[in-house]
Amino acid sequence: MRALYTSATGMMAQQLNLDVIANNLANVNTHGYKRSTVHFKDLLYQTMLAPGATAAGGGQVPTGTQVGLGVADAGTSRVFTQGTLQLTGSDTDVAIRGQGFLRVLMPDGSTAYTRDGTLSVDSQGRLVTADGYAIQPEVTLPADRETLTISPNGTVSVKRQGQTAEETVGQLQLTRFMNPAGLNSLGDNLYAPTAASGEPQDGSPGENGLGVLVQKALEMPNVEVVEEMIRMITVQRAYETNSKAIQAADEMLQGANNLKR
C-alpha cells in the first residue's frame, strides 16, 4: 500500500513546516531576524501506464496512469524584506534601511554578516556586536568622547571633551549579496556567504543599493505573528488530514487481512 508511506511523507513535511514556524515565532523579538519559509515539492511518480502508449485496442492512451509518492521539502529560504525600525535612543544602535549587512570578524578569522545593529563599545574602544565580534572595518572610539554620531552614509564622528567641532573617527561599511536567500545561517544573527548567495559586494552605506544607516534605531524582525499563526493552523490541519489517510489505508489493509479467516 503506497498510501501509507505517501501520507507519512506528508506528515513529516508538515512537521518540518511547524519547526520552521516555531523558530520564526520564537524570534519574534530578535533584532535583525529574518523569517524563514519552507518550500515543498512533489516526490517521484510511479508510472504504471505511460501516457501515449499503445492501448490494447490499438489506440493511444491519452493520459496514462501515474501515482505520486508524496512530498518532500525543496528547501527553506529566508525572506529578507525590510523589518520595521524601532527607536531605542542608544547612540551605538544602528538599523540598516536597505539590502546591506554589517560585516563582523569572527574569532576564527573568518568574516560573517549580520543585520543586527545592536552595537556596543569594548574595553579597547572598538565597536563590537552584542556577542563582542568587532565590526569590519574596525572603528575605535576615543575614551574622552562626549557624543557619538553615526551618519546615514556610515561616517562615525565624535566630539571630544572640551572641543566644539566633531571629528571623524571611522567609516562603517555595508555588504550586499546577489541572492541573500542563499546565505548560510550561523545562528547568533550571523550569516556566512555561500556559492548560492554570490560574492559579497562591499561599499559605503548609500552606494549601490546597500541601504543607509539609521542611528539610535534597531530593525525588528519581519515575522508577522498573525500570518505565522494562520500557517500554524493550516499546518496542523494538513497534518491531521494526512494522518486520516494513513488510518484509511490501515483500515483497508485490515479488511484485506480479514479476507482469510
Binding site: F40, K41, T65, A181, T234, T241, L259
Partner: protein, 256 residues
C-alpha cells in the same frame, strides 16, 4: 464463481490505487503550484458468455456479457486554479488564469505553476562578467521569450504583471508562459510537469508578490477517501461471500 473472486479483487486493487492518488494529493496540500491528480476507473473487458451443450463447443448460444471487474485507469492533473496568497517577495509570481511557467531542466523544457523563484549566481568565470539566473527552488533556470534570463549583477530584479523581468529599471525579457491540454501533462515530481503534446504560447498575466497554493480540495479528497474506503470494504465483502459459497460447494455438495 471462481471468476467472481477475481472480479471483486480487481475492485479492491483499483480502490487501493485510488487511495494512493488521494494520499499523494493530500500530502501535497501545502506544495505551491501543485495540481491535484484526478483519477478515473475503467471497467475491464467484457467476456461474451455462451451456453455450451454437448457437441457445440466454441459456438454455443450467446447468453450475454460478463464484466471482469474494474481497474484504475488514469490520473491526469486537474488544472483548476489554486488560491493565491501574498508573500510580498519580489521574485514570486502567480499566473492568473491558464498557463504554465517554463524552466530548463537537464531533461529538457518542463512546466510549472510553482511561482517562487530565486536568483542563483552562475559559477564565476575568470574575466567574464558576473552572471545570475532566475531559477526555481531546484536551481532549474526560468525561461523567458529569449531563453534563460541572465540578470548579471543587477541590484533589484522584479517581475511585472505583464511577465516582463525588470533589472535595475531595464526590461530584460518577458517570461515564457505556455498552455498545454491537461490530458497531455503528467507530473514529474519536484513541482514539474512534462507535456506529451506540443505547447502553445500564452500571454502571461501575473500577480507579482503572490504564489498560487495547491488546488487540492481537502474536503472533497476526504469525502472521496471515505467512499474509496467503503467501496473497498464492499468489494472485500463480495470476496468473502464468494469464498463462503465456494466453501459450501467444496465441503457440502459432495455429501448429497
Amino acid at each position: 464463481m471462481v471468476r467472481g473472486i477475481h472480479t471483486a479483487a480487481s475492485g479492491m486493487t483499483a480502490q487501493q490505487a485510488m487511495l494512493d492518488t488521494l494520499a499523494n494529493n493530500l500530502a501535497n496540500a501545502d506544495t505551491i503550484g501543485y495540481k491535484q491528480d484526478l483519477s478515473t476507473f475503467r471497467s475491464l473487458r467484457d467476456l461474451a458468455l455462451r451456453r455450451y451443450e454437448r457437441g457445440d463447443r466454441g459456438h454455443g448460444a450467446p447468453v450475454g456479457a460478463l464484466s471482469t471487474g474494474a481497474s484504475f485507469d488514469s490520473a491526469a492533473p486537474d488544472l483548476a486554479p489554486g488560491t493565491l496568497t501574498r508573500t510580498g517577495e519580489p521574485l514570486d509570481a502567480a499566473i492568473v488564469g491558464d498557463g504554465l511557467f517554463c524552466v530548463q531542466t537537464p531533461n529538457g523544457e518542463r512546466y510549472t505553476r510553482a511561482g517562487h523563484f530565486e536568483l542563483t549566481p552562475a559559477p564565476a568565470k575568470a574575466g567574464a562578467a558576473p552572471a545570475a539566473f532566475l531559477t526555481d527552488t531546484q536551481g532549474n533556470r526560468l525561461l523567458g521569450a529569449r531563453g534563460a534570463i541572465d540578470v548579471g549583477a543587477a541590484r533589484t530584479v522584479t517581475i511585472e504583471p505583464s511577465g516582463a523581468v525588470v533589472a535595475d529599471g531595464r526590461t530584460l525579457d518577458t517570461l515564457r508562459v505556455v498552455k498545454a491540454p491537461a490530458s497531455a501533462l503528467r507530473h514529474e515530481g519536484s513541482n514539474l510537469l512534462a507535456s506529451s503534446a506540443l505547447v502553445t504560447p500564452a500571454l502571461p498575466t501575473l500577480r507579482p508578490g503572490y504564489v498560487e497554493r495547491s488546488n487540492v480540495g481537502v474536503v472533497g479528497s476526504m469525502v472521496r477517501m471515505i467512499t474509496v474506503q467503503r467501496a473497498y470494504e464492499a468489494a472485500q465483502r463480495t470476496v468473502t461471500a464468494q469464498d463462503e459459497t465456494l466453501g459450501k460447494l467444496v465441503n457440502e455438495a459432495g455429501r448429497f
